[in-house]
Symmetry: C2
């Protein structure tokens, strides 16, 4: 194959779209998907993905936390692979593109290289990470975090869903607890294609987002403890309702978000659980998941400090005790400069309109950036709507990003 | 039997206590009980109760909503019965006495009359009402409400638990959907013995509470609707989180309770559900159960008005729509003056220290008061603690109330 035919290579849009549509038929929910990690629907898309990998000549392996890798051999096959991927699980009211374009775009890339008969110097591997969303098992990105050495395998297995199922148990149930040890191999580099999940590219009618960094996010899992009592006779002065403490925190976090809205800050407390949470009885236990996000790490830190103070205030106001059970943070200038430049240059050389953007959402790439040079490519999505079945993008909006993935990955793999 | 031996009749405390203790072994949870209505534990205590009724010579019948009646024939058996009872179901973190002393006290009364060989003129019936607590199926007191003609049988069957089970389905599952039509028979009168669920009798070391009326309570079930979105990129200005709306209402209701605490008002929002209620996604749906209680119906009305305004404010603040799906109210001066006087006179004639008290909790008696002369008798409970496994009372504290029940019921039944 001539260098010029490789330079002119473009993905097959029709094939890519039919793959996206086949995925969208698995776990369909309203106009989008409800394909929670390790559910029956997740098993079905995994089976389909493994079949697609086989059809594309990839050697499939599954690691102990269910990450699925498809390997395309390189000319110097002992070299570290260029890794490309994202996730096939979705939120409870998710769309057809979030995560999915990153995995199926990488699959389309492999198919395109197969058509061209081009074998890269380094192997290329594509990956579907387990439980990116964290909607069923907390925290999110737990399996890419395990791959990057941040989480222990057995701790990951112990993550528990609301119905009592464990991540480890569900991996066994759907047949995706693989034999391959997690991590250990350091990729040459990692590239993740994703819909923007923000309004900028759509509003500015740009084809490609070059992700320079991630918003800084601080999150925490907070527990309140009080005591049960009757909602009737029990005096207000004696009440220790953990639900009231949790609700006060949810409201306070929202207030903090509003206080920083003019500088693009966000604060969310999307999950509040309580027990017994029943009519007639005050709750003795509550948990709240909350986080703040802002582009500037200093401002994000100020917001996190405000949230932490709000935890104590909510507890005191409701007569409860509180404990911050878990904390996490991500984002910042974690991506590799050369990789980001490669993405920018590739978009330019392919003639696509593009701009630098920050990622406001969490991504598996954040963990991969800890162990190898990493970058991300964004494609537009309508109105920035995501984590909603109204999430939408056209094929024409997706193709440029997949072509950038193709050429950036090949450039890296042929180094 | 001579009139004087009847006048001197007292219940058998040891037998009564052993019955209470046997009940406390069914559905044991921490130091108390978790015997949600129509659960396996509720079936077990129902089976035990039916066996006890049979042992006491009562004719048992079960109506279509699972209310269990045990009938002791009267000399003029065609006359309307004097009805005595309460409930054997408990809250999720309930005690061994709430409701239970009313049913098992009535059983002990029958056993005492059997010992004496005294047959009353009117029949006496004892009853265990289904789902008084409303902890598993909303609303509370649904089966006594059905008996009183307030709720339709089929509507009662359709009440649904968090796990999707219906009240009607669970009645069938545990074998307690009886053949007897609900209600239709108007009792001569209804007497309900209950622990105070308040601190007054315990604090003042009094043996019997003569319940004159109930606090006025206004409750509502509120629904908020918004839309799902990503907790990261989605701007604060665009958010429509139903969980935030619900949490703001829970906090506002608590504030209203505090505003009226100095006059003994209570406001509670003990239950907040949301969907998806997961990390990473804003919730599109939430429901809140809330109520206010105050002795003075006018003040209770002011509190209810405040809550209603808070519903709209919470929705507006979170960009959601709201709807009040259901409203209820109870309490007030609903009890029969002659019956209240009978309880007071009986306590006095037995030499028990007593005082008039208001009920702050809801009771099946509130519905019975709509169809027949009704009164309630309270016994002390430690610190007023209830809907908590720390609920406690000694046998000595319970005996006076059961003896008042005995003599008031016999006086009524021999009329």
């Amino acid at each position: 194959m001539s260098p010029s035919s490789l330079a002119n290579a473009r993905i097959d849009g029709r094939r890519f779209w039919s793959t996206i549509e086949r995925s969208a038929a698995i776990g369909t929910w309203r106009h989008g998907l409800n394909r929670l990690t390790l559910s029956d629907a997740d098993k079905a898309i995994r089976d389909q993905f493994v079949e697609w990998c086989g059809g594309a000549g990839l050697a499939v392996r599954i690691d102990e936390v269910g990450n699925i890798f498809g390997r395309r051999a390189g000319r110097d096959d002992h070299l570290a692979p260029v890794l490309l991927g994202s996730h096939l699980d979705t939120q409870a009211n998710g769309g057809r593109f979030d995560g999915i374009v990153g995995v199926l775009g990488a699959l389309e890339l492999v198919r395109t290289l197969n058509d061209l008969g081009h074998v890269t110097r380094r192997p290329i591997e594509i990956v579907n990470w387990t439980n990116e969303e964290g909607a069923r098992f907390s925290p999110p990105m737990v399996a890419s975090g395990c791959f990057a050495g941040v989480y222990e395998r057995d701790w990951v297995y112990g993550r528990t869903a609301d119905d009592g199922a464990t991540l480890g148990g569900e991996l066994v149930r759907i047949g995706y607890r693989g034999e391959v040890p997690v991590g250990g191999v350091v990729p040459d580099s990692y590239l993740e294609l994703h819909i923007e999940q923000g309004p900028i590219l759509d509003a500015e009618r740009l084809q490609v987002g070059v992700v320079t960094h991630g918003y800084t996010s601080h999150g925490m899992l907070v527990e309140f403890r009080g005591e049960t009592a009757h909602t009737g006779p029990w005096p207000m002065q004696s009440r220790r309702s953990a639900l009231v403490a949790g609700a006060r925190l949810v409201a306070a976090v929202d207030d903090i978000g509003w206080d920083f809205a003019h500088v693009g800050g966000k604060a969310s407390a999307p999950r509040l659980q309580a027990w017994p949470n029943r009519a007639g009885i005050l709750s003795e236990w509550a948990q709240v998941v909350c986080d703040v996000r802002q582009d500037d790490p200093v401002i994000a830190g100020i917001m996190a400090e405000r949230v932490q103070r709000a935890v104590g205030e909510a507890a005191a106001r409701a007569g409860c005790t509180c404990e911050i059970l878990d904390r996490w943070n991500w984002g910042g200038r974690i991506f590799d400069e050369a990789m980001v430049e490669l993405v920018r240059d590739t978009a330019a050389s392919l003639g696509y309109s593009h701009r630098d953007v920050a990622s406001q959402a969490g991504h598996d790439a954040y963990f991969l950036a800890r162990i190898c040079p990493t970058a991300m490519i964004f494609t537009p999505c309508r109105g920035g709507i995501t984590h909603n079945d109204g999430e939408d993008a056209t094929l024409d909006e997706l193709i440029p990003g997949v072509n950038v993935l193709l050429h950036a990955a090949v450039a890296r793999a042929d180094r």
